[in-house]
């Protein structure tokens, strides 16, 4: 909402209030933890999380200065940058764990489908949550990495929550899915066969906190403080995974039991340049953009 | 319940009250009436006494509150077969999206009359009421009297066994009215219909009816009945100027007068 003071406003207690926009998903856990632990306050920040947001609204909101930081998947940010929108990726919001077989996103198929490797999905229908973001790239890359023709995949959009059902009802041959739906799908007999995140890049930034170029120019110290605080939060989260799992049910509808089971996203300190280049290449090939973006402009050094 | 006498229509102790939130109206009370097969009965009575209500109940369109209506010995619970009705609200009874011809034709089609015969019956009926040239007009393109004549033509073309007419000539001029009266009389003779004819024109009631039934003021019952012993063949000039006509007319008039009128309507 816009009723909060935005544009990194000062408060009475000397802290600067910043507004973060993000859907209430797992990657917010470190933020909430950090707020509890006073990490943000130590850096002079007071955080307000606005969960009344969506992919549709976050970019315009950030650019208009209605919120200070928001999360967006890397492909979307690259596309935005290419179209001339002044977005700056500050720090990763979620990242691949980097471990094939134990990542928080996977390409899954029904256990009884007879499909055991991504290559076998050639020419088949595969679901991704959004055709224009990183999920599509990950699904394709999993097939390509397995030696298949990634172009032959027929990608369709199905929201993550419907993936387990779509797989087990045989509506699609395979699907790209992330936690907690990966666990749900597995529980319903789906098996992971490909790990597109790790195929895409060794150190893949999936989504990032970004802000507007304007804010970077106007209040560089706030941006830096935010980044430092997040990094500290990640360091804390890495050490206290059970606290993260305990936190998740407090702001999502995920039950504690499920939260204890799922694979948690990786927390990285740097937005991966290598991954960004690769994603930019994909975006260009898929016709999402038609020029090569200047990644130096996108990723805040 | 089935009655066995040879009356076509038997109305026994009929009563009807309309209820609505604000007011309940007892429209009919203790109506007893018998109509023989092939009879022509004219019904007169003050405005609002329940004539339309009576016709609607006979037509099976409205349930009675008390009492029964038997048609050919069978209790009327729905519109009987071979019934023709000319509604008082003639304008609203025409289908606005159909031409005059189609309006007249509709009941015939529904009865399964063949195409050629249908066309003939329709043309004949329309000519009889003087609407031949307006056959392809829509009802809303017609004057009030013309609309009323369409409704009459529809009933007439249908050749019903029982014909109920609710002030069917109210909107036509004197000349046309006389012509239509004679038309109706002719058809009644020729097709042996039974006619129940509501009118406000006492002359007309006496001229047309074999019997005139007078309803009293609301809640209406039958307050008088006059057999009309005029010769079967009647004509506008001769009959109307006959002495007997004048007598009968005066008798009926006296009865109608007797019913309480305007001044006396109690709150």
């Amino acid at each position: 909402g816009s009723d909060q003071a935005t544009g990194a406003a000062g408060t009475d207690d000397g802290l600067t209030t910043i507004t973060l926009a993000s859907s209430p998903l797992g990657h917010l856990a470190p933020i909430y933890l950090a707020e509890d632990k006073g990490i943000f306050a130590r850096h002079g920040l007071k955080v307000e999380v606005d969960t009344e947001t969506s992919d549709l609204t976050s970019v315009p909101s950030v650019l208009a200065g209605k919120v200070d930081f928001a999360t967006g998947d890397l492909t979307t940010l690259i596309v935005a940058r290419t179209q001339g929108l002044d977005v700056k990726a500050v720090v990763p919001a979620s990242a691949s764990t980097g471990k094939a077989g134990a990542d928080y996103g996977a390409l899954v198929v029904a256990a009884d489908s007879g499909i055991t490797s991504p290559k076998q999905l050639e020419g088949k229908t595969v679901a991704v949550n959004i055709l224009t973001n990183i999920a599509a790239a990950a699904a394709r890359e999993a097939v390509r990495a397995d030696g298949g023709d990634s172009e032959s995949l027929k990608l369709v959009e199905i929201p993550f929550p419907q993936v387990p059902a779509a797989i087990s009802e045989g509506r699609v041959a395979g699907a790209w899915v992330v936690e907690p739906f990966l666990s749900a799908a597995k529980a319903q007999g789906a098996v992971p066969i490909g790990w597109g995140f790790t195929d895409l890049a060794e150190d893949l930034t999936v989504s990032a906190w970004y802000t507007s170029g304007a804010l970077v120019t106007r209040k560089p110290e706030v941006v830096t403080a935010f980044r430092t605080a997040i990094r500290e939060a990640y360091a804390y989260a890495r050490e206290h995974e059970d606290e993260v799992r305990a936190k998740i049910p407090t702001f999502t509808q995920i039950t504690p039991e499920v939260a204890g089971r799922i694979t948690i996203t990786g927390w990285r300190d740097e937005v991966s340049r290598q991954a960004a280049e690769k994603l930019a290449g994909y975006a260009r090939r898929d016709g999402l953009i038609n020029t090569t973006p200047d990644l130096d402009e996108l990723i805040l050094p | 319940m089935v009655t066995s006498d040879d009356a076509l229509l038997r109305i026994v102790d009929l009563g009807k009250s309309y209820r609505a939130r604000e007011r309940t109206v007892q429209a009919l009370a203790r109506v007893d009436l018998t109509v023989d097969d092939g009879e022509f009965v004219a019904v007169v009575g003050p405005s609002g006494c329940g004539k339309t209500t009576l016709l609607k109940i006979i037509a099976g369109l409205l349930p009675a509150s008390t009492g029964d209506v038997f048609l050919a010995g069978r209790q009327v619970t729905e519109p009987p077969a071979d019934l023709g009705v000319v509604f008082q609200e003639y304008g609203r009874s025409l289908f606005a999206w159909k031409t005059v011809r189609q309006n007249v034709e509709l009941p015939l089609r529904s009865r399964g009359v063949g195409r050629a015969e249908r066309r003939e019956l329709v043309a004949e009926a329309l000519d009889a009421v003087g609407l031949g040239p307006a056959a392809d007009a829509y009802p809303w393109q017609l004057s009030g009297g013309m609309q009323q004549r369409v409704a009459i033509a529809r009933a007439v073309a249908y050749r019903p066994r029982l014909l109920l007419m609710d002030e069917p000539f109210s909107a036509v001029d004197a000349q046309t009215r006389a012509d239509l009266e004679d038309l109706l009389a002719r058809l009644w003779h020729r097709y042996a219909m039974t006619v129940l004819f509501v009118t406000h024109d006492i002359d007309e009631a006496v001229y047309l009816g074999q019997r005139v039934v007078v309803l009293g003021a609301s809640p209406a019952g039958v307050i008088a009945q006059f057999p009309i012993d005029l010769p079967a063949e009647r004509d506008q000039l001769g009959t109307r100027s006959s002495a007997r006509f004048g007598e009968l007319r005066a008798q009926v008039y006296a009865q109608v007068r007797r019913t309480p009128q305007l001044e006396e309507v109690a709150p």
């Binding site: 909402g1 816009s2 | 009250s17 609505a20 939130r21 009327v76 619970t77």
Partner: protein
């Protein structure tokens, strides 16, 4: 008065208010049984949970404060949007509909604007409004069109004899609207009211689903996003309940306002 035993077959005894309600409940029961049978026969309870699983969850939700807060928010948004639409639709409808040249001048623009889905415009709207306001706008715009078109069509159904009567007895334009056209258009507005009550609710929820605006939609979204299907279906069930309640209210309002109308009086009349 219908005498006891001798009720003719065609005396369709009007179903009383209680009977009407009972029939409605019967309808709901039948639908529930149908749903239960279909889900059990064809679907995995994980994907489409049976009613027997949903109802307890719904009962649970009813005791939770957040459900009521969310419902309250959604209803507020829906109500505000609906009111705006109703007023705007009626005013614009009557203005445009009673002036022939205005109607002709505006109709092409109206036809052009009508199909623009407001969802497409959300990113633009975000620049000036917050999410709750956008949702109100979404509701208002969609309902506005419905009210507007119902009014325009209702205006065409006004009997010219009634209008002529009003004109000859010296009633001015405004008076004619109040005394003649407004009552004639009311039946069309009654239909509009029942339509927009549900559209408003549906769109207030959509606002939550696609933009995360707080309320029932957001609750549904987050249940879904957390794989909590039973909870999601329970919410959908309760949402429907809210819809039914609103519809009953709309029908009652219509009965009062339109007691003189053929449709209503035919049902009330002791026939």
């Amino acid at each position: 008065m219908n005498t006891g035993g001798r009720t003719p077959a065609y005396t369709r005894q009007p179903v009383g208010a209680t009977g009407r309600r009972l029939l409605g409940i019967l309808g709901l029961l039948l639908a529930a049984i149908g749903y239960e049978a279909v889900t059990r026969a064809f679907f995995s309870p994980l994907h489409v949970p049976p009613l027997t699983a949903i109802v307890p969850r719904a009962a649970e939700l009813l005791t939770e404060a957040r459900f009521w807060t969310a419902t309250g928010r959604t209803l507020l948004v829906a109500a505000v949007g609906l009111l705006i639409a109703l007023v705007a639709g009626v005013v614009v409808g009557f203005a445009v509909g009673s002036v022939p040249w205005l109607l002709r001048a505006a109709s092409s623009t109206l036809d052009f604007l009508r199909p623009v889905p407001s969802i497409v415009l959300i990113p633009v709207l975000v620049l000036v409004l917050d999410v709750a306001q956008i949702t109100v706008l979404l509701v208002a715009v969609s309902c506005f069109w419905i009210v507007l078109f119902q009014v325009l069509y209702g205006l065409r159904d006004v009997d010219q004899v009634a209008v002529d009567t009003a004109r000859t007895i010296g009633i001015g334009r405004l008076g004619r609207v109040v005394h003649v056209t407004w009552p004639s258009v009311l039946p069309y507005l009654g239909t509009a009211l029942r339509l927009i009550v549900s559209v408003a609710l549906a769109l207030a929820i959509t606002g939550g689903l696609v933009m995360g605006a707080a309320g029932l939609g957001e609750l549904i979204w987050s249940s879904q996003e957390s794989g909590e299907f039973t909870g999601m279906y329970a919410l959908v069930l309760l949402t429907g309940g809210v819809g039914i309640t609103l519809d009953v209210a709309a029908r009652l309002a219509e009965r009062r306002l339109l007691h003189w109308h053929v449709a209503t009086r035919r049902e009330v009349a002791a026939r």
